[in-house]
Amino acid sequence: MDIQTPKGASARPEFKEAVTTSTWQRWMNSDIWHSYKSSPVIIISSLTFLLLVLGAVLSPLISPYTPFDPASLNLMNGFTKPMSANEFTGDYFLLGTDDQGRDVLSTILFGLRISLFVGVVAVLFAMTLGVVLGLLSGYAGGWLDGIIMRIADIQMTFPSIMVAMLLYGIGKGLIPPDLRDEMAIWVLIISIGLSEWVQFARTVRGATMVERQKEYVQAGNLIGLTRWSIMLRHILPNVTGPILVIATISLALAIIAEATLSFLGVGAPKTEPSLGTLINVGRQYILSGEWWILLFPSLTLLALALSVNLFGDWLRDILNPKLR
């Protein structure tokens, strides 16, 4: 056989190069990293997000006080102004205290923890559900696709907050009263997750229908691969781009949905307050002059939602031209 092996190899030095560079170097040369470096908004928002996540994860270690331990609370500390020491106890509070004498900074860090936990787990739940249903819908087509998409359509006609409230109400009714506070977080997660799966399902379905037509999928059919094997091993890796984008945007939505539900009093319980619960508590004092109880949790929520959202937008822009 007179094939071009030796000469062909020398004719394409750029391929050789690709082998010697590590994954890390390739990442450093990629368009994504370049775009990241040249966009200050994204650098700031991603750093903000990182900071908030660190704060939430490390909250038990870095909080100056333990706000939800009744033993360490001192009512004398109530309504201390920010950046000042309490006039009775002499304790210093960077962001002030609330009516119970809880340190606002510490409650924010713990609240952030609950908010992020609920947001991330709810998105993971929505993603799993949406991706599986979307793959099934896009790959199988026919009546199955019809049923899944009609359910999605119906779900879309309700505002997601309403769906979450409905599910939350049903969940509360089904769970015995003594377990309610413990289960509240999980009811919250499931209800937010259920209201967000449609985005994932729609996007994955669309991408799957495109991939399904491609010849590499037919090559898989040809060797008798099962439907699930083709969906999970062949198609799924090729639709991760859009899933990632939706996941970030959904995270921001989930955090806001959680805050809204908690603000409305149907979310995280007072014993485990999230940012929304804190804002709800702070609302009561806005007219009596204790502004910090409302302002600081609100700013934190804003920073969190905004940074995730900006990051998601950027991710969408950078991945979009490459969505096949």
Partner: protein, 331 residues
């Protein structure tokens, strides 16, 4: 055609697609269902070790025939026999897998036919794993052997498809097709996305692999010059029907069907400087509403009354036994 039983044969193969609008639209517009006959009573026999080529323009149904023969699509009528056995009539999944191993396909697009997220090593190794041909420890060795067979280096297995040129990707696709040790490969326009200098590399590779491994090919293309280079026997398709089947030299020396003659004349010749091909009337008709009688009659120069009225049956001509579906063809 020899007397022995062919490896692959298609008997009265037909494919009909429902191209109707959704039922609600149809109800509102009071329209009947619409059907597209993509393939119509096609008979093909491919002897072992030979290349049968299908040539036709868009809408001729050539790719649909390929898909039915490899079992990607169930025929609406007729059957595909592999060594005398009908793939779609096999009920046991085990026997089906054994049949699948013997048939492979090389696709047109060197870009869409390889999963962009998989390493070449995994792409080529997948059929070996799917058919459980070798213990896991021996798969990589076999992949290296296959890469070498198609003119690529062992180290290429670690790369991803996007690191290769179109021609090299098509070599990878060939290696994957060979991985299950098939006897028969359907090649659907394998070089139409490639440049000429690369096309000749791939065509020559396919020819030498055929010689070495005794492969049987069904070669699908719209390009007569490529068909002439590759085929032993050629079938010319027009709107889903085989209008002429003959061995290569007979077809090129003595094309009998007016459509074959038109195709040969319209194809650009690299040695006919300044030639203007004889202008053909019209374009390919809508395959949903095919012309009556012989589908080619509105464009044919010979048309008589019978062509408009009756569908021509396939008849044999000459000592070469060329099969032609034309009322007016007389040797």
């Amino acid at each position: 055609m020899t007397g022995e039983t062919p490896l692959i044969s298609a008997r009265q193969l037909g494919a009909v697609f429902d191209v109707s609008k959704p039922w609600l639209n149809r109800m509102l517009a009071l329209e009947a269902k619409q059907y597209l006959t993509a393939v119509d009573m096609v008979d093909i026999d491919i002897p072992k070790g030979k290349t049968f080529a299908l040539v036709g323009e868009s809408g001729s149904g050539k790719s649909t025939i390929g898909r039915m023969i490899v079992g990607l699509q169930k025929p609406t009528s007729g059957q595909v026999l592999i060594d005398g056995e009908d793939f779609f009539a096999i009920s046991s999944e085990k026997k089906k897998m054994a049949m699948r191993r013997r048939i492979q396909m090389i696709f047109q697009s060197p870009y869409a036919s390889l999963n962009p997220r998989w390493r070449v090593r995994h792409i080529i190794g997948e059929p070996i794993r799917a058919f459980d041909l070798l213990p896991a420890s021996e798969v990589d060795g076999r992949v290296a052997e296959l890469l070498d067979q198609v003119g690529l280096a062992k180290s290429d297995g670690e790369k991803f498809p996007h690191e290769f040129s179109g021609g090299q990707r098509q070599r990878i696709a060939i290696a994957r097709a060979l991985a299950s040790n098939p006897e028969f490969i359907v090649c659907d326009e394998p070089t139409s996305a490639l440049d000429v200098s690369v096309q000749s590399q791939v065509l020559n590779l396919m020819k030498s692999l055929q010689r070495e491994l005794g492969l049987t090919y069904l070669f699908i293309s719209h390009d007569l010059s490529v068909i002439r280079y590759m085929a032993d026997e050629i079938g010319v398709l027009y709107l889903g029907r085989l209008v002429e089947v003959a061995d290569r030299d007979t077809l090129f020396d003595k094309p009998r069907h007016p459509y074959t003659r038109m195709l040969m004349d319209a194809a650009p010749h690299i040695d006919a400087f300044g030639r203007t091909a004889e202008i053909v009337k019209g374009e390919i008709p809508d395959p949903i509403n095919k012309p009556s009688g012989c589908s080619f009659h509105p464009r044919c120069t010979l048309t008589e009354e019978i062509c408009r009225r009756d569908r021509p049956e396939v008849r044999e001509f000459g000592t070469e036994k060329a099969r032609v579906a034309c009322h007016l063809c007389a040797d």
